[in-house]
Symmetry: C2
Subunit: 217 residues, 2 copies
């Protein structure tokens, strides 16, 4: 079983980037927004708060970025960002890589911090639905990656032990969480992404899904 992160790893966030940068270009824009979103999701786990839906966290992160630019975000501006999440295209290497991995007998799963309805819509829009055996949101376990529950939930769905699974992501923190509960890990070097030596090394470092298929088929 090969488990794929979606946002930034499989799906190019360009439409979200454009929407955020158009509102808050000087405050670090999209990069700060996505980091703030991650910060909020991690805080929910770290402080023991009740689970908050990803789309709510995303709105709060957007509001914070626009506030840092000295303005107040309007509902229309937020709507553009939210629409962006529904219009993502897969990176050009994704479909071919997934097809090769599946042809070689691998099962595949999407595992995302986004909500279930959101990721299903994303897969439909990007033409990826038929390329995953399972499309899974962390909503099912009310815990965000990189906490242990989402990866263990994935293993339970797959019906295999974590050490027979691969987690594939362009986020070092996601792979660190997967590794902590025993999965093998593959880092996809999407633009501007690096792997912090804070974390245990990933088993594979590759540039795209094609190179991943070269290694795993």
């Amino acid at each position: 079983m090969i488990v794929f992160d979606m946002n930034e790893t499989t799906l190019d966030l360009a439409p979200v980037r454009a929407a955020v940068d158009s509102v808050a270009p000087d405050a670090g824009g999209f990069t700060v927004f996505f980091q703030k979103l991650l910060q909020l999701s991690m805080s929910v786990s770290t402080t023991g708060m009740d689970f908050v839906a990803f789309s709510s966290l995303a709105r709060h992160a957007f509001d914070a970025v626009v506030a840092a630019a000295g303005r107040r975000a309007s509902d229309d501006e937020w709507a553009q960002v939210a629409e962006g999440f529904g219009q993502l295209e897969a990176y050009p290497d994704v479909v071919g890589g997934l097809e090769r991995l599946r042809a070689a007998g691998h099962q595949t799963m999407a595992l995302t911090n986004s909500e279930q309805a959101g990721v299903e819509a994303q897969c439909e829009s990007a033409g990826l639905t038929h390329l995953f055996d399972h499309i899974v949101s962390v909503e099912a376990v009310s815990t965000y990656k990189p906490g242990p529950a989402p990866y263990l939930h994935a293993a339970q769905i797959a019906g295999v032990s974590p050490d027979r699974m691969w987690m594939v992501a362009c986020h070092d923190w996601d792979l660190a969480g997967a590794r902590a509960v025993g999965l093998n890990t593959a880092f996809i070097a999407r633009p501007k992404m690096s792997y912090a030596p804070t974390y245990p090394a990933a088993d594979l470092h590759v540039n795209d899904f094609g190179a991943l298929a070269d290694h795993l088929t």
Copy 2:
């Protein structure tokens, strides 16, 4: 007992901001660096990794920001950032506010994710050492804020129950962690900082230490 966050809340990170922005101005610079540093510290808790020193996390965050700008950070460039952390000045309202709070009988504590040696040097350099009854690093409990251990450690040092304490910070996530274990919370609205509605509301929202003293004396 009033507990104060140091970096960004009490100490102006301007020298660190200048050092990071001079190396990576286009990648979001300092803002992205500081968020990445927070991300790393939260990941250590969330994934159950062994504790990694704050200065190591800061180096890794800096390397990631420079890598996102398409370069590799040199040791000299990092040295400028590290030196910056040792040259911070208190915001103009800090000394007066702390003096008023202490004159009114409050005990005071610095509680920081930075290392013990680092925060002691920062307090000396900024002329704040005599204004704190305790200067405490999370190193003592090998857990970063906003995990529960640092705040509980602060309560133990203070010898009072958490509900008799205040946590003061310009970071919503820090106050959320303090609130989760029972402290009262005061948000200081430093430049570009907002309070995400993801978190339980803070008990006080004030613009600076002077306004804090107005409320607590």
